[in-house]
């Protein structure tokens, strides 16, 4: 035990699959934080918080909701990874991310022109 280099092919595949825990954490954090700033959810939180005058309750409620949706997202992602062909899904999610990127950059440019 503790000698994973007995099967170099498996090890190679493993090391490519599993980026360090921390770098994935940072990637998730920065991507989602940037995407969420100024998003409709944040605007909803802001409005409810201002209307009710109880920011703490709104913060707790919104946080619980967001934790639930990201838990669901992670579980759906695990299910997909285990049940669908990996290479195909990587292509599909690459295309989804590219489309989201193009959409956001276009929206940004429209906003820039309107400013």
């Amino acid at each position: 035990m503790g000698k994973p280099n007995s099967n170099s092919k498996i090890e190679e595949g493993d090391s490519k699959d599993s980026n360090p825990f921390f770098s994935i954490l940072i990637t998730s954090f920065s991507t989602i934080f940037l995407a969420e700033l100024g998003d409709k959810t944040q605007l909803a939180t802001l409005i409810i918080s201002a209307q009710s005058g109880r920011p703490l309750i709104v913060f707790i409620g919104a946080s619980l909701a967001l934790i639930s949706t990201s838990l669901l997202g992670v579980l759906i992602g695990r299910w997909i990874a285990n049940n669908l062909p990996r290479q195909k899904f990587t292509v599909v999610s690459g295309i989804v991310m590219l489309s989201l990127g193009i959409y956001l950059v276009t929206q940004g440019f429209i906003g820039f022109i309107q400013n």
Partner: protein, 98 residues
């Protein structure tokens, strides 16, 4: 009153966030990496921080950084992730053929 507000906020945000680009990102990240816990912690922390800014700092972020700049920035991040995934799928495909 407090419970009603808590419940209202929860339902509103939960429904608004289901199937949103944030959840799509979480699904993508957790299915293409092998670290679901890292993705869950990272995205939860990001969402809580963004909410904290929304609930406490009010609109000051939107006043400080214009919305189009935020959209451009996050759009570029999404483009980078997309290109990365496509490149990754290419190497996966060439590995499979051996």
């Amino acid at each position: 009153m407090i419970l009603t507000l808590l419940f209202t906020t929860f339902v509103t945000v939960f429904l608004a966030e289901m199937g949103d680009k944030t959840q799509l990102t979480t699904i993508t990240l957790s299915s293409t990496t092998n670290k679901p816990l890292a993705v869950f912690i990272g995205s939860s922390l990001a969402l809580i921080s963004a909410t904290l800014l929304g609930a406490l700092a009010g609109g000051s972020i939107a006043n400080l950084i214009p919305a189009f700049l935020l959209k451009l920035l996050s759009g570029i991040v999404f483009l980078i992730i997309g290109i990365n995934l496509l490149l990754q799928s290419k190497t996966e495909a060439s590995n499979d053929s051996f």
